[in-house]
Symmetry: C2
Subunit: 413 residues, 2 copies
Amino acid sequence: MPMTRAQCLEADKIDPLARYRDAFVLPPDTIYLDGNSLGPLPKAVAGCLHDTVVEQWGQGLIGSWNDHDWIGLAERLGEKIAPLIGAGPGQVIVADSVSVNLYKLLATALSLRPGRTIILSSEDNFPTDLYIAQGLTALLGRERCELVILEGSRLMKAIGANTAVVMLTHVDFRSGRLYDMQSITQQVHDAGALMLWDLSHSTGALPLKLDAFDVDLAVGSGYKYLNGGPGAPAFLYVAARHLGNATQPLRGWMGHAEPFAFRPGYEPAPGILRFQSGTPPILSYRALEAALALWDNVDLDQLRDKSVLLSETFIELVQASEVLSDFVLNSPREAAERGSQVSFAHPLGYAIMRALIDRRVIGDFREPNLLRFGLAPMYTRYVDVWDAVAHLDGVMLNREYDTPEFREQPRVT
Amino acid sequence: MPMTRAQCLEADKIDPLARYRDAFVLPPDTIYLDGNSLGPLPKAVAGCLHDTVVEQWGQGLIGSWNDHDWIGLAERLGEKIAPLIGAGPGQVIVADSVSVNLYKLLATALSLRPGRTIILSSEDNFPTDLYIAQGLTALLGRERCELVILEGSRLMKAIGANTAVVMLTHVDFRSGRLYDMQSITQQVHDAGALMLWDLSHSTGALPLKLDAFDVDLAVGSGYKYLNGGPGAPAFLYVAARHLGNATQPLRGWMGHAEPFAFRPGYEPAPGILRFQSGTPPILSYRALEAALALWDNVDLDQLRDKSVLLSETFIELVQASEVLSDFVLNSPREAAERGSQVSFAHPLGYAIMRALIDRRVIGDFREPNLLRFGLAPMYTRYVDVWDAVAHLDGVMLNREYDTPEFREQPRVT
C-alpha cells in the first residue's frame, strides 16, 4: 500500500533533511520535479553574486583575481565536490563543461593506454558523451581511435585487449537506471582498460565512492543536483595514481605551471590543475560556490534513503491508480538499480507533460514517449510526490492533454 | 608639446564618447588603466544578473531555456559582437574560452587544408595560444601537425606549401604592436594557407574588418575591452565561405542539429552553431549581454581616434618628463602600428607598478620589466592620462618603489 497524503505529511515532519528545503527558492504552487535538468535557485546565490559583481568586480577590479582568490576557484570548488563523490584531495577541479571535460579525459585515457584504440560506450549514453567521442575519433582517425557503441547488456563481454577506456553514465538520463560502479569498474580493470564515469545524474543524489572503487576518470555536472545555476561549470576527477603521467590536449594557460611567467612553452601545472584550460567564467563559478556551501553537513546516506523512499512512493502511487494503468514504468523496479528519478512511458507522453506543467507540476519529457520526474531529496517533499501523482490523475481524468497547443514539440524541455 | 592638464580637461569636455563613461562603475580616486586585462563593471550588469538569477532562474526554472531564450544566447551575443569585428551575420558565436575556441579553429583549419601540417605562429604570441597549438600537436603527432614558432619579422617568409594556418594575435599583449591585418592575411592566402587572428586585445578598442580583409578564422575575449566580466565567455568567427565544410572536434550537444532529439549520432548544426560544445554558463553570458548593449551606437572610428590621442598623449607626457627619462617606450612610436595600450620598460618595473597601484593608478606589470597601461576610449579620460603620468613622476621623485614589500612577485597581475 502506498503512503496516504497524511502519511506523507508525517514523513516530511520527521525528515532529517527537511531543513534544507528552506535554503532554496521554490515558486509557490509549484511542484518542481526537474532538478535533474536544472536545480532550483539556492537563496544564498543572489547575495553572493551581487557581492561578486558590485564589490569584487566593481570595486576590486583586476585585483580580485588575487584579493578574492578567483584564481583559486577551480581548485577550491573541486575540493568542495570531492567528498560528494568519494574522492580524496587533489583529484577534482571545476572546469569548462561536461562535454569539454569528457574530451580532455578521453584523450588522457588514450595516452595512458598506448596501443589501445577503442572507446567503448553504450548506445543509450547521454548523447553529448557520444558526440564528443565521435569528435575525437574523427580528428584522430580510425587507426588511432575508434568509438564502439553497444547495447548496455553486451558491453562487458565486448571489452578486449584493444579497449583503452569504457565511458558510461552512471545514472541513465532517461530511465534512471543505475550502473553497478564497483563491479563494472572491476571488470574493466580486469581487461586492462580504464573506466570513465559521467556522474551528471548521480552527484548530489546518492553517495559515490570513486576512490574506494578505483575509478580512473570521471566528469559531472554543476547544474543538476548540485544546483549551481543554468549551465554551471562542470567538474572532472582524475585518480591520483594517474596524475603523474596524465596529459590532456586542451592546454590553456590556466593549466600551466606558471601562467604568469608568460613563457612560450607549455609546462603542465602540478597534478589535477593541469586539467584547466582557458580563463574560467568567474560569475558562474561564484554561483556554484554559493550552491556548494549547502552540502557541508549533508549525510549522503540519509540523502539516498530519502531518495529511495520518494521514488518508491511515486511508483507505488502511480501503480495503485486505476486512471494511470497505461503508464508503463520505464525505470528499474528495484530501488538499488535506480538513481534519483522515475520515468514512465505513455504514447501521449508529450501532451500529458505539457498539461501537467500547466498545473505547475514541472517534470520533463524525453523522446520518444517518456515522462521523467526528478526527485531531489534536498528539497522534494513526500507530499510533493503525493500531490504530483494526484495532479497526474487529474490530467488523465479530465483529458487535459487533449488540446491542440500541447501537441507541438518544444525546442528545449 | 604634450597637452597640459587644462587642455586635457578641455578635450574631455568635447569628447563625443564622454557620455559612455557614466555607464561604468569606476571606483573614486582610481585611475583604471587595466581594462585590457579586465574591463570595469558596466552599471547595467548588476540589475541584469539579479533579474536573471531571481526571476529567470528562481521563478522560471527550467522553462527559462525557452521563455527567456537562454538557448539562443550563444548566437544572439555573437550577432552583437559581429559589427564590432566587421563580420556579417551568421559567422560569430559566443562560446567557451579563447583557449578552447582556438583549439576548435586550429583543428578546423587543418581539416580545411588537408595534406598541410604546419601551424605557424610568432614567439611573442600570447602564451595560451601557443600552448593550445602545442596540445593539438602533441595529440596528433608530428606527422599530422607541427607548430613552428618564429620571431615576428621572419614569419611571412616562412609560410610555405606545408603551412595550413598562420595564427597571430592582432595586438601584442606586451607591446601593443598592431599587425597589419589586411596585408598579412593577403600574404597568407597567397601561400594557400588560412589566417586565424586572436582579437583579444583589439575587439572594442579599434574598428576591425574581418569580412573585408577575407580573414578565415578568429577568436576573441569577452572580458577585456568588451567589459563582460571576469572570465567572460569568448567568441569565435568562421568566414561564411568555410562554413559549409567546417568541422571541429569538440562536438557537444549544443552544436548538434537537433540537441533535444537525443540521437546517438552527431549531426552538425547549421553554420556557425556547430562550433558550440557543451551547455554554456548562462549567468556569465547574461553579464556579457548587458555589457554588449553599450556598443549599440558606438562609432568605432571615433573610438580609434580617441584611443590614438590618449596613447599619443601618454607617450608625449612620459617623454617630456625628465624624471621619467629612463623609461624606455616598449610600444611602437607610430600610432598606426599600436593598439590601445602603451608599455614602458624599466629595470625596476615591478616595484614601480606596485607603488603606482598604491596611488590607485591601476596598470599592470608584465615580465620581465614592462609597465603596461591600457587605454579604453569608452571610459578613459584625457585627464586620467595626464594624472597617471603625474603620479608616475611622483613615484619616481619620492622613490616610492624602494620598499621591501614591492619587490616580491605577485601570483596574478
